[in-house]
Symmetry: none
Subunit: 215 residues, 4 copies
């Protein structure tokens, strides 16, 4: 463990500040979350991007959202092959153990993972085609989405591909038997959103039009 | 897309509140994060658990942390086999593209994933041994940690196993060539933490003692 | 250079301590700030007073704030006359080169500069009226603020004058074309604060009431 | 005041954390600093740059340093012309009112202001030659320093110019009668330092050799 270092002091200081204020003011609730367990109403699948603040945007507090964050908020298809699938494990836990009522896939503008996929599928990022590229192989999940893009400027098409990432995840979610079953039994509903970083916008996938529209 | 539903109204309402207040007061910063891209100082790997609020605990705001959340904050070992590895992709992106300076693995008390692993390894959760159990296969990553547990009550041993989850992730991180290289070149430092939900505690892995100690 | 002396040893000792601890634990980040340049989110204009710790109050670390400190946190009006204007140069650099998103004017209680201005304008500090008094001439910037004070005890009026110093700076900031332009384009927001030294208080200028209110 | 906005919430939150911890633990000292006034041992003149943390480097706390920060830590020569000189006012206040015992000029590597001066004097930044450029006119103070640079790479010469900024400030300080008098009466000592951002280095001006040497 010689590679491990103490936490930077500024984070320790801020933590002590949180403990003395936010935590102190909510101790009863935190303790109850501990003794009774979490009971989140929704699972959110969003991107790791530092500019996406799921809890801020939705005014959520401790205990409300079960949050999985990965590159480009992607859900792979159901593949029970005995290998490790972190995203599938998170979904399984949320749906079968926690029994969340909502599952929200939250995309966002200027997504670096989506851009990588766009460049790769356009032939401009050969390094992402390498077998050893984890980002490239992860973004393979979005290749079929790239094929569906309509004409337009690169910028437009990247935004379209961000939408495709959300649609792909929602489609793949329905390949999981436990998700489909919960949705069909009306125990779970799926939602697709897209957050515009610069303008603070939020669009929602309209199930009728299959387009993203401002909320 | 008939399975998709509009976003629950309470979340739409909260979003509009965020847009009119927090976003409006920080528009300049969000726009700049959009035009210039993110430059997070740290990546945090934490659990999906709804009771873990990474940004609150560390007083962080938009743009500060690149956050990956999965079940039990686990990092698998380096395995460039061309398959999809969401966690490895997130780490690759953070370290090689964003070049974060810190990588913090944040465990927590009462972790459902760790408890599942504990039960499974104790022979009390045969359903998690199924090939088709995503949670079970994901928690296989922590089996070697279970073997290292010392005697004690079940509760103690589960806490120990939460510590092992952080240690395992830190060890596995060093199997990634680009992580090891960055650490050895002093471009990246690794940190291990554990958050106590009920009491708001924070412990830090002391690299010398290899134990978790209150910050 | 015969007038220059070596640094006092106690500071050298403390520096070596910082180097071996805080610096060592954050080397990766500091190096990155060096290679990629700073990208502070905010500029803070505060007083030189040794009792005002901008970074502590706001839990900020290396790279977060571009800080200008002068007597009484004053901003002079825009005056592009070819002479040396240190404060204006700092603002120009922050707004046009660094493109900070926030500009915070931070006043404080018991400000010696403001007290000097108060005494001078009350006729009790003739030495500050001298042409050669740098402090007096600098505090001339706040004379119009003195005229606006309402009745009250000397102590009350000095606090009022500290508030006027913040208001004056904010008003003068808007006389700089590049500040006004950035504010109007929503690329920059201005904020006014006042820190009470004895009680650790923080008030914020409420743009609607134009009064200072506890945060 | 319609241009003013409330303080960003993350800073308010962090402030409350500081108030509840650091402030609460030091209330007695802060109150005493309030009732008895500040009595800083040293004045530090440093750059506004967000990467320079004067108090961290020197392990200083509330009440220890009277700090003036401007672009490139420059002191103009004594010029009692009745105009506004913010830096001169800060020095006058520190030396004649507070009677600090040390005056430290702290330069740093990768200084944007010094780089601007270098480019301007090399003919590569005509915009800084404009009468209306506050940064350009402020950096005029360092033109004589540019003339003294010896041959070398651009990078070497910029570092040399950073040293010249410290030397120029120290020279100019001695043109202030109240500084010279205090130095000659051994009531004040002057010091020159240079901080390397990337490596956390600290060099000190050796009065005998007139060179900067590691402390």
């Amino acid at each position: 463990m010689t590679s491990v270092k103490p936490l930077p002091q500024y984070l320790v200081t801020r933590y002590h500040g949180w403990k003395a204020t936010t935590f102190a003011e909510n101790h009863a609730w935190y303790r109850r979350l501990a003794t009774e367990g979490q009971r989140p109403r929704a699972m959110v699948i969003s991107c790791c991007d530092s500019r996406v603040h799921v809890t801020s945007i939705f005014g959520a507090d401790q205990g409300e959202f079960f949050i999985h964050r990965n590159i480009a908020n992607l859900v792979p298809p159901y593949e029970p092959d005995g290998n490790q699938h972190g995203t599938s494990a998170a979904i399984e836990f949320a749906v079968t153990s926690l029994q969340v009522a909502h599952l929200i896939v939250l995309g966002h503008s200027l997504c670096g993972g989506v851009k990588g996929c766009y460049d790769m599928c356009s032939g401009n990022a050969p390094e992402l085609e390498e077998k050893s590229s984890f980002v490239g192989r992860w973004m393979d999940l979005l290749r079929p989405g790239f094929e569906r893009l309509s004409e337009g400027s690169d910028e437009d098409r990247q935004t379209q591909l961000e939408y495709e990432a959300v649609r792909t995840s929602l489609d793949n979610l329905m390949t999981f038997p436990f998700v489909r079953e919960a949705v069909e039994a009306d125990r779970l509903s799926l939602h697709g959103c897209h957050n515009d970083i610069a303008e603070g916008g939020l669009k929602m996938l309209n199930p009728r039009t299959e387009d993203f529209e401002p909320v």
